[in-house]
């Protein structure tokens, strides 16, 4: 399957982070970071959904299957959802899903949740930088990637 990104020059491991974000807040926040020419770690791959309520746990599982080393899920702050309550529903789902992932032994440092509004470009930049560093320290998600390999 897909292997992690190697930077030839440094030989260091560069994690792949997949970010599932909602269109109205976090995507706009990330966009603001871009248009404001803020620099941040290029490890994140953004996938835009209409709302956090649209993010099925299977998306996260699929991301890990396809070689993600870390996943970030982010949307509007409570009260700010474009569809009023999508993020409240999402939050419930995350509570269950996060506990399930913990229970099967997936490191909680590989799965992050956040609220980032359209104006919080700085928060987005810090978040991505921090998560990238954290996952970098953990190294590639070999446990998941090697599922099915013969020992």
């Amino acid at each position: 399957m897909s292997s992690h990104t190697q930077h030839e020059q440094t030989g260091g491991f560069e994690p792949k982070i997949v970010a599932f974000v909602c269109n109205w807040c976090t995507y706009a926040g990330a966009d603001l970071a871009g248009t404001s020419r803020m620099e941040y770690k290029p490890n994140v791959r953004i996938i835009k959904l209409p709302c956090t309520g649209r993010i099925d746990p299977l998306f996260i599982i699929k991301a890990f299957e396809k070689g993600a080393d870390g996943v970030l899920v982010s949307g509007c702050h409570p009260g700010d959802c474009h569809y009023t309550t999508g993020n409240y529903h999402a939050r419930r789902r995350w509570i269950a899903f996060k506990n399930l992932m913990d229970f099967v032994g997936i490191d909680s440092q590989r799965l992050h949740f956040s609220w980032v509004s359209a104006s919080e470009a700085i928060k987005w930049v810090d978040l991505v930088n921090n998560i990238t560093d954290e996952v970098k320290k953990l190294g590639p998600f070999v446990e998941y990637k090697s599922l099915g390999d013969r020992q």
């Binding site: 746990p57 299977l58 599982i61 699929k62 299957e65 409570p78 309550t85 409240y88 529903h89 939050r91 419930r92 789902r93 995350w94 509570i95 269950a96 899903f97 996060k98 506990n99 399930l100 992932m101 913990d102 229970f103 099967v104 032994g105 997936i106 490191d107 909680s108 992050h112 949740f113 956040s114 609220w115 978040l127 446990e143 599922l147 099915g148």
Partner: protein, 302 residues
Amino acid sequence: MENQLRQKAKELLEKGDVKVVIGYGWNKRKTHTTPVFITKPEDVDKLVFNPLCVNNLSLYLTRKFADIKALGKPAIVAKGCDIKTIAVLISESQLKREDVVILGMSCNGVVYRQELWKSGTDFKSVPADIMPTKCHNCDVRNPHIADIIIGEEVNFTPPDTPAGMVFDKIRDLDKKSGEERWGFWIEHFNRCIKCYACRQICPLCYCERCIAEKNMPQWIETSAHPRGNLAWNLKRAMDLAGRCTFCGECERACPVNIPLNLVNQKLALVVKDAFGHRAGYDEKVHPPMIIFNMEDTEDFIK
């Protein structure tokens, strides 16, 4: 108790109150019980009730069984734990309360391994060590929702902290490192052969088309590969969060003995802690995963 059951079933069928009684009967060799569908009053003697009546018959109330629905209004022989599943089905609009007559059975616990229970033994004295975990903690031995209660009142107080193998193992796993837990689950999920028996037997897995069968796009790999096995088992557990009533049928049906009760009950504990909800006690409240509370915890959200 069986006489009382047969009598009531007969009355219901004779009066035309119901068209079919879904219950338990003996298999040919009388080694275990099997679901029976009684439509004629003269057949009610086929009905039995004993500690080998393990199946959760509420499965037959779901849309998976259109042929049984077609028979007309059913009465169902149900233990307290089975009634919990009926309550969830009602709360999810799969069924109306008035569309089924519940024959609630007073229960003293069941036995999965029939060789351990000698028929003829007094039903009241099923030894605790051969009962499944759910019976150790059962607070519905006297059915909580029923039209007719069959049998005498049972005196039993479940322990305050859930006891038994399933809960001991959950506590044990919680204490382990993530790495050890991963090892434990991957070893179990690797054995999955994708037969979907867990889904087929679960009364709450009633979708007409399961995500596991969708291939445009394909979310869950169809082959029995560890990657897809993990995805399937996580998705199955997740979709039963806040709904699973711990009837234990999925684990009983699993041909490779994946301890599904562990993952189901772990999530049940999480849902109880986080949302104060226990599935199957009240058919009038919404399942917790379709509602929310403004005050839900978000200490893990940055």
